[in-house]
């Protein structure tokens, strides 16, 4: 039995109230009631969020659980209510899940980001369910005049065995609403879980397969206009002039005008990245009419001068960024990165005496890895709806960081935050892209000007060429081996445009006596943003490919070699800042070794392994592949993951499978290049996305079984598969793959 303080007595926002039609409603702040240590708070990733919400029990026993977080395919809309339902002890079939709107009074930080939904809300969600259950028990004890401890619950029923009394939650809900919220509650033993750990279907499954309007782009309202924007064709360019005379007379076109996305004096917050400060808006009656006008418009662009941008980052003091002028090209980017790698860089971590170890080395291995800019390419193109009145605004659409967007919209429109409502629609993919909601500002400004409800839709081309990309990265690894083939030193020199991917304290830091991690950056006017497992998505691919190459050089099995390093890090770690648990890390490698039939497969299929730790979870993968007609054929991917307790196993597996397919796709084909500032791909005829025929034939996901509180799952399976694939491709072809994308090109479609 786990007795936890709910901290409810001290917090007024956790309230119980009677529902109008009879029943109980319990509002609570899920995260604020979790007691995190200062250390835990410090260790929270950049993108984290609190979870709040409410549940209500109607007099007919139906339980409604609000899902505060936006849903973009992670399946939190099913998993988070499952945790509440578990502690409430109700039949999952009686639960209705509703998407909460953005509500900063009732909820806060309704974010998608950093794979933190379940981790940061785990205890709070349990407490919410347990508090409501406790209140139902208290009400029953009062009505039956029996001791509280003699009362039990079972699937939505309250029971007193001694007196053979039984009543449904629904019948007791109104009385429970009058009970004061408990100051401490008992949480279930994990062995008693019935809903957590039992796969439940996606609560929106039927709506998805029947085509119901779930997504932002599906929004229609009375009198709604459609808008599109025209943005500069190249990074480094700005609007000079435009001619709207022919457009205005085109059928269905209402207005054509320019708009400033942000005011000049606006202090940008972390997610206020805006690629093009001024764009042309075309507003009309229907999508096709606006699309036609967009094709007909004449706009002149001109290069901009270097300018300064004030920024308030997520943490730390205000910064002034210099946005350089110039029309950049990928060839120049590559040359600049090579140049930086040989210059003196910022030393972020140094253990032992790497210089000496390299001087005394019997052998030195040095390799450089690169990866290009990537576009997120969410299948639902960027879009948003706004209906702005004189003193209020109603917005709706797919968003990852709604609260921050609300603040930006409020400032831009000059309407107080309290008068702005944002409805959260399902996201047709996010992967980080929908954290940067400049399009919400654009549509708000358009609606304000048009005095009408407006839906802004980006064409695929607008979306793909509009910036906020995964940065371009490079890392140079250098390893020293002594005469006995011991790895004595490691140098990591990592940088990027415009952000460094370095995580200085991650494995293999801590496992090597002499270690140095260095970092550098190159400024650019190409905008970047979070992309599924930011930085990790590159560092894992390079690090785990390099370790594979060292394992080969020292004539060790790649898994055994990693396990030896992890053993060292567990027993006698170097340094004190290592940010991983070496035993859990080794655990996923051992599990994947067992499940993948490592080194024991048939001779046609070649295997590669990789493991990585990010977003608080450990993932290891083995890729089994053959090489046919100069193309990789992925036969199977075996994945072992340790994310603590798994809430909804089948959906969790689906998310891991997705991370693996996404990783393989980007590793093989993903790439956005530039020439004179112009993105060289603008749609799926040139930007190669992984297809079903290129996807693994089989994906086998295994979760490490333990009682550790749950951690992240949306991101951790994505980074390592790049390297598992590269290492398998080496086995299949005899060639090492250092530069992403490994294959490139474009899929030839039959249709």
């Amino acid at each position: 039995m786990t007795l936890v303080k709910t901290a409810i007595g001290r917090r007024s926002f956790i309230k119980s109230s009677a529902l109008a039609g009879g029943g109980l409603m319990l509002g609570f702040n899920w995260l604020a009631s979790c007691k995190m240590t200062p250390e835990e708070v410090r260790n929270l990733p950049k993108e984290w969020f609190e979870i709040n919400g409410y549940l209500k029990i109607a007099d007919n026993g139906q339980v409604t659980i609000m899902s505060p977080n936006p849903e973009g395919g992670q399946n939190v809309k099913t998993a988070m209510p499952m945790i509440v339902a578990e502690e409430l002890d109700v039949d999952w079939n009686d639960v209705i899940v509703e998407q909460a709107p953005l509500n900063t009074d009732l909820y806060s930080r309704q974010f998608i980001g950093g794979s933190q939904a379940i981790r940061t809300s785990w205890e709070g969600l349990r407490m919410a369910g347990a508090s409501a259950r406790h209140m139902l028990l208290m009400a029953a004890a009062e009505e039956w005049q029996v001791p509280l401890e003699e009362i039990t619950t079972e699937s939505g029923k309250i029971k007193h065995t001694a007196s053979d009394k039984s009543i449904s939650y629904g019948a007791m809900a109104s009385a429970a609403a009058k009970v004061s919220v408990p100051e401490e509650v008992v949480l279930k033993e994990r062995s008693d879980f019935k809903i957590i750990g039992a796969s439940k279907k996606n609560v929106d499954g039927l709506k998805i397969v029947t085509g119901k309007p779930l997504f932002g782009i599906d929004t229609y309202s009375e009198g709604m206009l459609t808008a599109m924007i025209v943005h500069p064709p190249a990074f480094g360019m700005k609007l000079k002039s435009y001619d709207n005379t022919t457009l205005i007379s085109m059928p269905g076109i209402r207005d054509v005008f320019t708009l400033k996305v942000l005011e000049d004096d606006y202090l940008r917050q972390h997610f206020d990245t805006c690629t093009f400060l001024e764009v042309v808006a075309i507003v009309g009656n229907s999508t096709w009419e606006v699309m036609n006008a967009k094709k007909a418009i004449t706009v002149e662009w001109e290069p901009f001068e270097t300018y300064a941008e004030e920024r308030q980052p997520y943490r730390g003091p205000q910064q002034t960024l210099s946005i350089p002028s110039g029309l950049e090209s990928s060839e120049d980017h590559k040359a600049k990165m090579m140049e930086m790698a040989s210059k003196k860089a910022d030393v972020v971590r140094k253990d032992g005496n790497p210089e000496k170890a390299f001087r005394n080395a019997a052998k030195i291995i040095e390799r450089t890895y690169t990866a290009p800019f990537l576009a997120h390419n969410c299948m639902e193109p960027m879009n948003f709806f706004a209906d702005v009145k004189n003193d209020s605004a109603q917005l709706s659409g797919p968003l990852q960081k709604a609260e921050l967007t609300e603040k930006a919209v409020s400032t831009r429109l000059g309407i107080p935050v309290e008068k702005i409502d944002i409805e959260l629609t399902r996201l047709g993919g996010g992967y980080g892209r929908r954290s940067y909601a400049h399009w919400a500002l654009e549509v708000a400004v358009i609606s304000q000007k048009m005095k009408a409800p407006v839906k802004l839709v980006y064409t695929r081309e607008d979306d793909m060429t509009g910036g906020i990309y995964r940065p371009m990265y490079q890392v140079r690894y250098k390893a020293a081996l002594d005469a006995k083939n011991n790895l004595t030193a490691l140098l990591v020199n990592a940088g990027g445009i415009p952000e460094s991917p370095l995580y200085a304290n991650r494995f293999p830091a801590g496992a090597i006596d002499n270690y140095q991690a260095e970092s550098w950056t190159i400024p650019t006017n190409i905008t970047i943003g979070s992309f599924r497992a930011p930085r990790s998505n590159f560092m894992a691919s390079a690090e785990q490919s390099f370790l594979d190459e060292i394992a080969e050089a020292v004539e060790k099995d790649p898994i055994d070699f990693r396990l030896e390093l992890l053993d060292r890090a567990a027993k006698n770690p170097v340094g004190e800042k290592n940010d991983y648990d070496a035993e859990r890390y080794a655990g996923v490698l051992k599990l994947v070794k067992e499940k993948s039939n490592w080194n024991n497969n048939n001779s046609n299929s070649k295997q590669g392994v990789a493991a990585y730790f990010c977003h608080n979870s450990y993932a290891a993968q083995v890729v089994d592949m053959t090489w046919e007609n100069d193309q990789p054929k992925i036969q199977k991917v075996t994945c072992a993951i340790d994310c603590g307790i798994v809430i909804n196993p089948d959906a969790a597996s689906n998310l891991c499978e997705g991370g693996i397919v996404d990783g393989i796709g980007n590793a093989l084909y993903g790439e956005l290049t530039f020439k004179d500032g112009v993105p060289q791909k603008s749609n799926f005829d040139s930007y190669r996305m992984i297809r079903i025929s290129e996807s693994p034939k089989e994906i086998d996901v295994h979760f490490v079984k333990n009682d550790i509180d749950p951690t992240g799952l949306g991101e951790p399976t994505f980074p390592p598969v790049f390297a598992a694939l590269a290492n398998a491709m080496y086995k299949a072809t005899g060639k090492r793959f250092y530069n992403q994308p490994f294959i490139g090109g474009i899929t030839k479609l039959n249709s």
Partner: protein, 154 residues
């Protein structure tokens, strides 16, 4: 502008639009059937797939003037209660993640099984290769198509 009489999901619809308007935008903007999705506008992603006389077509590349009296079926008309064998298989396998591409996937799969109720793995891959799933649910899509085939053949 021109008037067209369309047969959509078994119902007659009269619309008045620019004859070059693609079926996709007639469905979404005029008829408010939004299950058919916009993904690329150039027939490369499959999100806009509908049936034209039972054949899977990309509605973003289908001018309304070329439809004539052919029967159009969208995801909303595939079954009355969401119980088409392909939809049922999708639910059984719990295929979707974000779900945006899935209507198009289901329309392509159902057209395939209508013509070839017993597809091989290769035939499934060939038929489904034009439908992108950015979340990467491909292994589940393949599994669901096979379950649907078994259920149709049972």
């Amino acid at each position: 502008m021109a008037k067209f009489n369309l047969n959509i999901n078994g119902k007659e619809r009269e619309i008045d639009v620019d004859p070059t308007t693609p079926m996709l935008w007639v469905l979404r903007d005029q008829i408010k059937l939004v299950g058919t999705k916009y993904g690329c506008g150039i027939a490369q992603c499959g999100a806009c797939t509908v049936h034209l006389d039972g054949t899977a077509v990309r509605s973003c590349q289908l001018p309304i003037s070329s439809v004539g009296d052919k029967e159009i079926t969208t995801i909303e008309g595939l079954s009355e209660k969401g119980d088409h064998p392909v939809q049922q298989a999708w639910l059984e396998v719990d295929v979707p993640q974000c779900g945006y591409c899935q209507a198009g996937q289901i329309m392509t799969a159902s057209a395939l099984l209508e013509k070839n109720p017993n597809p091989t793995d290769e035939e499934i891959e060939t038929a489904m290769n034009g439908n992108i799933c950015r979340c990467g649910t491909y292994t589940r899509i393949k599994k669901a198509v096979k379950i649907a085939a078994n259920s149709i053949n049972a």
